[in-house]
Point group: C2
Chain length 473, copies 2
């Protein structure tokens, strides 16, 4: 009891660490979660909103009971409000009290919060989609009044009063999404499934910016073909309303709506660590070493609140993604259980579905970013078939690969297509993490059979073309 492993945050990183430590050691493990939801998949909320996932609880992978069966002391509705890195205690508010909890090792896994860069998100009908409760509320708003029983949504984890408020309202006819990133694109699909008039506002000229031009263009085309109205290069200034949302305002223009979701990015929830004097990185996320340890002894950070090491540049980066969080948490759990384990690098591999378009990206695609990292970037984009041309289901697959001119080293790639395109980014990710040159990628012995791939897989075609460009100097 004197030397517990204390975890702040009961989601991917926190519970991966807690589970690993509890399994591999005799240490006491305590997890504080300030909310009621634990072990939930944020990434799944758009599919719950869409209606493809019936029950919000389906998005959780472990119940509180299952977590406790693993030997973890789980305290929900307990917020850690301070860390004393000298005295090795945390201050906890919960159960109607405030108390000090000593730790031997501490993991800060406080996640991220939705960025809200303009006023009006507090209006009823305006949401960020960064919590299970907001997913529950949005879905209740979409359903016909009276058809949702707020008491049953989310199996008691959800804010019942919030859900009730929206379950009683008339469904919106229009949905406005502010932000054309993952959440925006996924929600455009979700709201279209409810036959809403869907509008997406994007500050910049391109959707899914980290995926590069070819993917962004393909997704814009897909969304428009599905009836979504895109407002590109259109910064939203505020949401207007009086208690309830009435319109989205951009300059002199405004668009009336009773539903808006703001998904313009997330920010690392690093205040708790910063207030304790723990170093943050340039990104604002908690700085960590290769074992996930912060500037404070025996204090670790992982998941969306912490930085990672970029697999391409070797530099610190902030890439808040699910696998990274799980993996880093698991490694830290092993470390504090006595088996020092590096948290691993991050290649920035990401995939997203935009209606039928599957999009993937990895590494460095943006040329400015590549140059900042000391590379001389060269990219090629090709479109090739996903299967043999004569085989049913063959579909165009567009691949961008980016390499360093001098070394020929692969720096990153992106892919978009309707037929199994997303999974193919893993080939590029693996080549990238292996430090392969484009010439080596071109010689990869990838699978060929008519139902699954043409003789020259689209990734190989891209490597062939890019390698030709590199050889031509």
């Amino acid at each position: 009891m004197s030397d517990p492993f204390v975890v702040v945050g009961g989601d991917a990183a926190g519970l991966s660490a807690a589970s690993k430590c509890a399994r591999e050691s005799e240490r006491d493990v305590v997890v504080f979660e300030r909310g009621r939801w634990v072990s939930y998949a944020h990434c799944g909320t758009p599919y719950y909103v869409k209606g493809e996932v019936d029950d919000l609880v389906d998005l959780t992978s472990l119940s509180p009971a299952e977590i406790e069966e693993r030997g973890i002391d789980l305290r929900r509705d307990h917020e850690v409000i301070g860390i004393d890195t000298e005295g090795r205690t945390v201050t906890v508010r919960g159960g109607g009290a405030e108390f000090e909890q000593p730790y031997g090792d501490l993991l800060v896994a406080t996640g991220a919060t939705a960025a809200v860069p303009f006023p009006g998100v507090e209006l009823a009908g305006a949401f960020t989609l960064h919590h299970m409760d907001s997913a529950a509320a949005i879905r209740a708003f979409l359903e016909e009044p009276g058809s949702v029983d707020p008491a049953t949504v989310g199996d008691g984890f959800t804010d019942e009063a919030l859900v009730r408020r929206y379950a009683e309202r008339d469904p919106p006819e229009r949905a406005v999404i502010v932000g054309g990133g993952y959440v925006g694109v996924e929600l455009a699909e979700a709201f279209s499934a409810w036959d809403l008039n869907v509008h997406v506002f994007q500050r910049g000229e391109r959707l899914l910016k980290p995926f590069g031009e070819a993917v962004g263009d393909a997704v814009a085309t897909e969304l428009r073909e599905r009836g979504v109205t895109l407002h590109l290069d259109t910064p939203v200034e505020r949401l207007r309303g009086d208690g309830e949302l009435e319109a989205v305002v951009c300059g002199d223009e405004e668009l009336e709506t009773t539903l808006a979701v703001v998904g313009v990015g997330v920010e690392p929830a690093s205040d708790l660590a910063a207030e304790a004097g723990i170093d943050l990185g340039a990104s604002g996320a908690v700085a960590v070493d290769e074992y996930g340890e912060t500037s404070a002894d025996n204090v670790y950070a992982a998941g969306d609140c912490a930085e990672d090491t970029n697999a391409v540049t070797g530099e610190s980066a902030w890439v808040p993604l699910g696998l990274t969080a799980n993996r880093a948490g698991r490694a830290i759990g092993a470390t504090v259980a006595g088996d020092p384990t590096p948290v691993g690098n991050v290649a920035g591999t990401a995939v997203v579905k935009a209606f039928e378009q599957e999009c993937g990206r990895v590494g460095i695609i943006d040329h400015d970013h590549a140059r900042e990292a000391g590379f001389e970037p060269v990219s090629e984009t090709i479109t090739a078939g996903s299967r043999s041309g004569y085989y049913p289901g063959n579909a165009d697959t567009t691949v961008t690969l980016c390499a360093d001119r001098e070394s020929g080293r692969l720096l990153g790639g992106a892919i978009v297509g309707t037929d199994r395109a997303a999974v193919r980014i893993d080939t590029v990710a693996t080549a990238l993490e292996a430090g392969m040159t484009v010439a080596e990628v071109e010689r990869l012995d990838l699978a060929y059979a008519p139902p699954f791939s043409p003789v020259w897989d689209p990734v190989l075609v891209a490597a062939k073309v890019l390698n030709g460009t590199l050889e031509d100097g």
Copy 2:
């Protein structure tokens, strides 16, 4: 005209080489093809038999006219019957004559022939599926009499008399497939689509032997669930009949049938090279160096008649697959055009569809094979979801990974599942060719999004489990 690049064989390897050389140099390029079909996809024939591909010509990627437009002198119905490596000429029979053709460089790309280890395959109704004509004949046999016009099948490339013979016969009610490899499994699906009573005879106890136990078992289950009768451990002795096939004979048992396809493997068509005194490897295929050159100066070999270098062992191997043939041909075309290019290694990556099961394999899976190559193999097989558990379409995906105990190096892998399983083998192939250890595979940053993958991709789960086994010693 004095120094032409002469190619024997007008399919994948031969035409890839001819096209590359014609594009990259001023050399004369002559291709001799003994048949009428050129640039055809063998791998697609089961889907033509099935009826998913309408027209046999759809399986060709280049027409004779397109090949000639590339500046290639294409001679169909021309058989090379001898090579004089001293005089640097080949003897050609074609156009009603026999003549000598000088070469500066020669590529032997004679392919493979179907193995026929028992008598009776000459009977009408018995086939090997290793030629476009046999695909045309089988498909004509399956169709109702009178519904196929033999003159239009294969656009004039096909043996019309052969097709006519089968187009007039009553369709079979039963189909017997001898051999449970790629062709056997693909044809089981094809014949089932015609509602035939389908039987597969396999000499050994397992289907798809190179894919290992987990895949073989899953495919056997799939075939049985689809109504295919499997006769495992059942060597066929002969096909019985009197002009026309009547039955398949195994010991005292026989099974009546009017249609049988023998797909028990292929053999390298290396006689032409062997008779010219060119060295063959232990496999019986033509031995080549890293540039695809044989023991005779300026004579190259590529495709199904030639050996390759195994990416795992570095030793010579015979792996007759489509990408390998195309890649080696292209490299040799570059070499003879003046840009020496290695043909590359072969990881043995292969995928096959068995009804809804997608199967993949790469590298060394078989423990005896691994031990022969000097490794101490350790394997683990896991089953994990293909997508997030709550996302529609999530399906069991079984992954086997094999590694060397001492070095931890990945040696090979196999995968089977109904949801995008096949494409995932490319991740394993890339890791294998990069020489990764299983620990490195476990740390790969693979893509995660609910519609495409769980947080821990099945490949990562397999690596995690195998790495645990390796660490436990």
